[in-house]
Each structure stands twice: as C-alpha cells, then as structure tokens.
Amino acid sequence: MTVMEQRGAYRPTPPPAWQPRTDPAPLLPDALPHRVLGTEAAAQVDPGLLRRLYAELVRGRRYNAQATALTKQGRLAVYPSSTGQEACEVAAALVLEERDWLFPSYRDTLAAVARGLDPVQALTLLRGDWHTGYDPHEHRIAPLCTPLATQLPHAVGLAHAARLKGDDVVALALVGDGGTSEGDFHEALNFAAVWQAPVVFLVQNNGFAISVPLAKQTAAPSLAHKAVGYGMPGRLVDGNDAAAVHEVLSDAVRHARAGGGPTLVEAVTYRMEAHTNADDATRYRGDSEVETWRAHDPIALLEHELTERGLLDDDGIREAREAAEIMAADLRARMNQDPVLDPMDLFAHVYAEPTPQLREQEALLRAELAAEAESEGTAR
C-alpha cells in the first residue's frame, strides 16, 4: 500500500475527546479601534465625566512637562513621560473604585497621581530617595514597576485573592507594547483566564519599546488579538480618545466585577516624547510620523468635542490650565527641597527583624556616621 492509499483510508474525524470550545468570535477585537469622540456616541456620554477627563488631561500634560523639566534641573534622575498617552493614564485611574487596585508600570506615574497619589510621593522612585515613596495599601496602587510585565501576575493574584475573600475588588494592570513579549505577560493572562480573576489588562501600545517599533515586537494582527488564545475578550480602543478608553475600561471593569473574568484591552496611542529624557528618538523615528500623531492629540480631541457642544468655553479652558499651573508650581516647589534621608533606613526594612549579620553592618554604618559627624564638627 502506498502512502497515498493509506491517507485515502484515513477518515478525518476529530480525535475522540475533541469538543469544539467556545466560539472565538465574541472574544475577537473589532477591526478598528473603538472611538467615541467625534461620533454620535459622544452625545451619550455624561458631560460631567467629559469635563472631568478634560481637567485631568490638562493637569496630566502639565505634570509630564514639569517632571521632565525637573530632570533638566537634576532633581529627577530620569523621567519617562506619558505625554500623548494621558487619555489612557487618566481613564485607568478614573474607572476604578476606591477599593480597586491599580498596577502601574514605570511609565504610569500619571495614572497614580490621577488616582490621588501625592505627586511628590509618586516621584521618589525617579528622584532616587526611596524606591516606593508611598504605602501601596493607602491608595491601592502597587509600586511603580520597573521590570517589564512582572506586575501583571501580581494583579492577577491580588484580584484572585480578593474574590476568594468575597470582596468585589477589581485589579487594573498597565503594560506597554514591548512588555507584551515578556513571559510574565503570557503567564499572567493565562492564570487570569483559568482562574476567571477579576482583572483588566490595559496595553498602552505607544508604538515603540524604547527604539523598537511594534512590527519588530510581534507578528500578531493586533495585541488585543492575543486575548483570544487565552480565552478572554480582546478589545481595541483609540488610546487618544479619553471617552472611548474610559468606556472600554469601564465595561471591562464592570464585566470583571460581575464575575465575568479578565479582559485584555489594547489602546492604540503614541509616545510623543522620547522614551525618557535620556533617549534620542530622532535615531528611530521621523518628524512626519510624530506630526501625524500631534494632529490626533488627546487633549485637542476632547477640547474640540467639548467646545463644539458648548460644554466648555475659554473661561473653562483657562480654569483647567490654571489648576494645572497650581499643581505644577506646588510640585516644583516641593521637589526643589532636598529630601531628608536617614542612612539607617538602609537596614530598617530588609526583614521584619534584622538578621544578626545586618545588625553588625548597622553598627558599622552608625559608627561611620558618628565619625563623619565628629570630623565635620572639628572641621567647622
């Protein structure tokens, strides 16, 4: 018998235990990113919410500018600006209830501030006085996370634990497009879907991972498509449309809170500044691309919508800008004070009880500091 004859004899029935799983169609993202501003749907959005989003966007942009300026004055070691991405940052903060948790990446200072964190506390990581300048439990904001995507499984675990305890808490985790290539992204999505954990993943696809464009990061049709393989819905949204991001995230949060499990949201946006103040973006992208995106600015989009509909006038715009200036002036003033640091803190929080080895090292540092103080005293 030839191979072809054998093949002819083979009846293509499915393997014995095979059952088609859920129809992937409802999980698939739409072909185009969801938009609200400039469409008829915008009329349905609560004007109060739109105004609130606007004020936060304006404040957020000013915050980014101020923080970047602080790097030039040497007050911050580094600042990864989210200018251009404010709609994602602000919506992420505003869709959550107080009891919910936000899991930011290192770029998401603004989301933490929009959630109510003191702007100075939000910057200690980047200033260098302490890694996390706040108590995560106080605002339910996990520490700003530097290793990419590692905060995602934390969000899943926390959401899962909350559900086990019977609390209707949702975790929202932020990650960049580059971060979706990390193993932890995969493991987190998989755990979330298997456990049906109340967690929402928001990918801010801002086009680049430092210098690497999305096309070199993934061959997937979109990052939202990745959801389907895990068995969770993937949603695609215009990341510069604050109303759309807010709507899609709200839906996802509601779905999660109601026991519907996780959602992966991809927000298509753009990083207007360089990766950080230390990066040279002209090496990997041209001005025309940046200009195209400038015409799609999140603040301009919302401002246009609001003014067209008579919900915002020049006074309103001035008011928003003034509030932002006040925030910036306060931030500047407080950041220009040198933080007071206690070197003995180095040993205070390694373990609940310092080990005998740490106690010895603590004694050494204390002696060094005493000697330093004494020699300064005699020098004076």
Binding site: T150, P153, H154, G157, H160, F191, A348, H349
Partner: protein, 334 residues
C-alpha cells in the same frame, strides 16, 4: 507528666502535617503549585490538603513557575499567606525573576508597608537517581539574595517545626526540602508535634571535642555517619546542623569551632562560589586564634549536576569527609 508514644514518621509526612496544621490554624494559608491538588504533589507532601480544605486553599495552578510565584505575590499583597511548591529545584529557575525582583524586595522598597509572607518550598539536592534538572542544590543563589530567609531541615521534627515557622514568618522564606530525606524515618510524635526554635538557630546534632563538621540538609546524616566512623581513628567529631542559611547562626558555629579548634564545612552544592566559602570565611574571621588548621570544605564538584549513574562520585560521602578530617592534623603535616 504524660508520656507520649513516639512513632516512626517520614519527613514527607511531617511536612504534610505542618501544612495541614498551618492551614487549619490560619485560614489565610493557601497552598499552590503544579499537581499539589488531586495528586498531592509529586512527592505527596500536599497529600489530602485539597480534599480537606478545598481547591481554593490547595490549588493546582497552570504549569508556570513565574506565574505561580507572581500570583502568590499579589495574593500576599491582599493578605493571604501563600505556600508555593516548586516541583523540583531546577524548575524554580523560571520564577527567579519574580523571586529576586519582587518577593525579596517588596518589604524593603515599600519601607515595610508591604511585607510578603510567602513560603517557597523547593525539593532540592541529589541522591535519588533523578535525571537531569532534578538534583540541583541551588541554595547559593537564594543565599545571595537579600530579603529572603533560607532554611533547610535535616530531621523529621525540624521538617515540621521549621515549616510551621516559615509559614508563620512575615518574610518570604525559601524552604529547601532535601528530597533524599523525604522518606527517612525518625521517631516522632505526630499527635503532638513539637515546635522548634525560631528560624536562624543552628543545633549541635552530635557533641564532640576534636573537630566540627558544619553542615545542613541532606549532608547532615552523612556527617553523623562520618562522625561515627571517625571514632575508630580517634576523632571525636562535633556535628553542627545549620538548619538556617539565612539568617546565619554565627554564634553556635563559632562557639563550636572555638571548642574544637578545627572545622570542615560539608555540602552537596558546588564548592566554588558555594555556601562553604562564605561559612569558612565567617568561621575564620571569628575563630582565627582558636583554629589549629584552615577551615576545609567538602563539597560537590564544580560541575553541572551529573547523570544519576555517576552522582555517587559527585556527592560528598563519608570517605571524603574523613579524608578532610585527616587533613585537619595541620601541624603534623606542615
């Protein structure tokens, strides 16, 4: 005073008992890992826990070590006490990113606001004829990471007491289980398990006068056997079982070496960059004037863990320990 009947029990049984008692005592204790539920773990250490406490408290996770430890971090953030099982020593490596970048530092980076009471159980070490990646001794990696406690029992009673202490600890504990001792039996009172000293105390397993063997985990019984054998040569060896590698009990170790004046560190992990180098240095720094000879090390070879048919040549055995003890007669030789 009531006398209790001591029964033979295995280390695996004591560990199971510790998990069960911890879960019964504290509803926030959650066991999770690969195959820990219905199967009870590949070493059966979690046997019966899913049945008794439900699958929400003893959970079969997807097969992903970073995911297991990463989700445990989030669970601990929300007030649970996860006890995660890494199926074998070398399969914990995918979780190292979570371990080193988050588990070990969360308390520190948040100035104490977010401690992570996670116990990470890692069956480790050789001597069971395991194929590649089933016999590594990875303790040096853990020891080199500030923020982690690292403990390893050598007896049935310690397996119980140290695991209870680890789970009760507000800090992350890497709990190394010497898998070749899982089935070793001891007389133990399983009805009324005794608590042990808190994490961080070494014990003298066998008192002696002429030299100290400093060891831990799977090498403890080997050292005890060597100490018996050494009697024929006129050596009266003291055996110190460290039990805890972090924190390190300098006091007990130094006191022993000051008494005996000679020391050999014995472990399965490779010698170069291994725990023995650290221990020898600490002993030398503290006991230099009491030492009659350099502190010697008997360790595994500096090779990737060998195939099972060759592992007996790699693992430190009685003869190699006795050789080292012989070399402690420094004055006579030099």
């Amino acid at each position: 005073m009531t006398t209790v009947a001591l029964k033979p029990a295995t280390m695996a049984q004591a560990l199971t008992r510790a998990l069960r008692d911890a879960m019964a005592a504290d509803p926030t204790v959650h066991v999770m890992g690969e195959d820990v539920g219905t199967l009870g773990g590949v070493f059966r250490v979690t046997d019966g826990l899913a049945k008794e406490f439900g699958e929400d408290r003893c959970t079969d996770t997807p097969l992903a070590e970073a995911g297991i430890l990463g989700t445990a971090v989030g669970m601990a953030m929300y007030g649970l006490r996860p006890v995660v099982e890494m199926q074998f020593d070398a399969f914990a490596y995918p979780a190292f990113e979570q371990l080193i970048s988050h588990v070990a530092r969360m308390r520190n980076r948040t100035r104490g606001a977010m401690p992570l009471p996670i116990t990470i159980r890692v069956p480790y070490g050789g001597g069971i004829g395991g194929v590649e990646h089933h016999s590594d001794s990875s303790e040096a990696y853990y020891m080199a990471t500030p923020g982690l406690h690292v403990v390893t029992p050598a007896t049935v009673a310690d397996a119980y007491g140290l695991l209870r202490a680890a789970i009760a600890s507000d800090d992350p504990v890497v709990f190394l289980e010497p898998k070749r001792l899982y089935w070793s039996k001891d007389s133990w009172n399983p009805d009324e398990p005794t608590a042990v000293d808190p994490i961080g105390r070494a014990v003298v397993r066998r008192p002696g006068r002429s030299a100290t063997l400093i060891t831990y985990g799977p090498s403890v019984p080997v050292c005890l056997e060597a100490a018996e054998a050494a009697r024929a040569e006129g050596w009266d060896l003291e055996v110190v079982d460290l039990r805890s590698l972090v924190p390190f009990d300098d006091e007990t170790v130094a006191a022993s070496v000051r008494r005996t004046g000679r020391a050999v560190v014995v472990h399965e992990a490779g010698g170069y960059g291994g725990p023995g180098g650290e221990i020898a240095a600490r002993v030398t720094e503290r006991c230099f004037h009491h030492l009659e000879a350099p502190v010697l090390r008997v360790a595994g070879f500096d090779i990737p863990y060998p195939p099972p048919m060759l592992e007996r040549h790699h693992l430190p055995g009685v003869d190699r320990i006795l050789d080292a003890v012989g070399r402690l007669q420094w004055e006579a030789d030099s």
